[in-house]
């Protein structure tokens, strides 16, 4: 894929990582205590939460794809920074020749002139070669006819 399309893809992927990151964090965030006046959750719920947390930790240890919640922001921000660095690398790889539009147009005009010249030369060579080819074919035909009509040597 050409470099500008790669750059565009990279920009889109940065955007995708960003909104996926914020979306996942918002979805998976544990509840936050809004004010110290609110009571702690009741102990039964705390015990159930502890049991659930233990089960989740065991599941996370077994399954390498699910990560505990504190790890997620680190991973997502690492992805974001990696994508941004790749974008910078692609920008550095842009083959932008300085000179702008006029220089390019001038170069195109020069190349057109050269192309025309060499096209004419090619045409000339081609015509000469075809002429020679016709001559040789004629001579070959004559030689073949002479061979066919040759009298038997005495």
């Amino acid at each position: 894929m050409d470099i500008i399309s790669q750059l565009q893809e990279q920009v889109n992927s940065i955007a995708a990582i960003t909104f996926n990151a914020f979306g996942t964090l918002q979805r998976d965030a544990p509840p936050v205590q809004l004010s110290p006046n609110y009571p702690e959750p009741p102990p039964a719920a705390a015990a159930a939460a502890a049991a659930a947390a233990a089960a989740a930790a065991a599941a996370a240890a077994d399954d390498p794809t699910t990560t505990a919640f504190p790890e997620q922001p680190k991973q997502l921000s690492a992805d974001l920074v990696k994508a941004a660095k790749q974008f910078d690398a692609l920008v550095a790889a842009l083959p932008l020749s300085e000179g702008g539009e006029e220089a390019q147009l001038k170069r195109i005009a020069e190349l057109q002139v050269e192309n025309d010249l060499i096209g004419q030369e090619l045409q000339k060579q081609l015509e000469a070669a075809e002429k020679e080819l016709k001559q040789v074919q004629e001579l070959f035909g004559q030689a073949a006819d002479n061979c066919l009509n040759m009298k038997k040597p005495e």
Binding site: L111, L122, A128
Partner: protein
């Protein structure tokens, strides 16, 4: 008339079976209809006819100039399947789209520098958005607007690189073509010289006899 002809062609095997049964002969496998019986409306579904001006090209093979020329290319705007299209493909500037332009408006803008600085800005704004969501969640809208305008600027910059890329591709193709033509000229010269050398050798051989 054509409909009847087509129907009779397809119904012939059925008629044969009916006739053979009437003659008290067992119907052979050749009498089974090979195609499923066509309904009457399917026989009328033919291709649309060619456009009526095909008659103007009756003598085209003898006299190519007796037929009308093809229509000239369309200029300006045209309507295609109900949509309006324009032949001028120009990238609309950011102001026309109502997006603030964040990089300096100059005739020769340094693309690499601007792209890198826009990338920096984008990262900062994303961090700001994260902060706002933690601290003051109701004020996200402005930050999102900033981030989206940065993205639009990025894409606009990349799109304005496309004409440059097109000219560079053209230059590359022309250089390749010049190289190929030079190669062809060399090849033809070489072959001609070789052919002349062969002929001269043949003359020498013949004269030597």
């Amino acid at each position: 008339m054509r409909v009847n002809h087509i129907l009779s062609f397809f119904l012939a095997p059925c008629r044969r079976r009916i006739i053979s049964e009437a003659r008290n002969q067992s119907p052979s496998i050749f009498d089974h209809p090979r195609f499923p019986p066509l309904k009457r409306r399917m026989a009328t579904a033919t291709y649309p006819p060619p456009p009526p001006y095909y008659r103007l090209y009756k003598d085209y093979s003898e006299n190519p100039s007796s037929a009308p020329e093809p229509p000239p290319p369309i200029e300006g705007t045209y309507v295609c399947f109900g949509g309006n299209y324009t032949t001028e493909d120009v990238l609309p500037s950011l102001e026309e789209q109502g997006v603030p332009q964040l990089y300096p408006k100059d005739s020769n803008v340094d693309y690499k520098k601007e792209l890198r600085s826009l990338n920096r800005e984008l990262q900062l704004h994303i961090l700001e958005l994260a902060d706002v969501l933690v601290g003051r969640p109701s004020q996200y809208a402005k930050r999102i607007g900033d981030i989206s305008s940065i993205f639009k600027n990025l894409h606009h910059l990349l799109n304005s690189l496309r004409p440059h890329q097109a000219r560079a591709t053209l230059i590359h193709i022309m250089e390749l073509q010049i190289q190929q033509r030079k190669q062809a000229v060399e090849d033809i010269k070489r072959r001609r010289e070789e052919a002349q050398r062969l002929l001269k050798d043949a003359f020498v051989t013949l004269d030597g006899q």
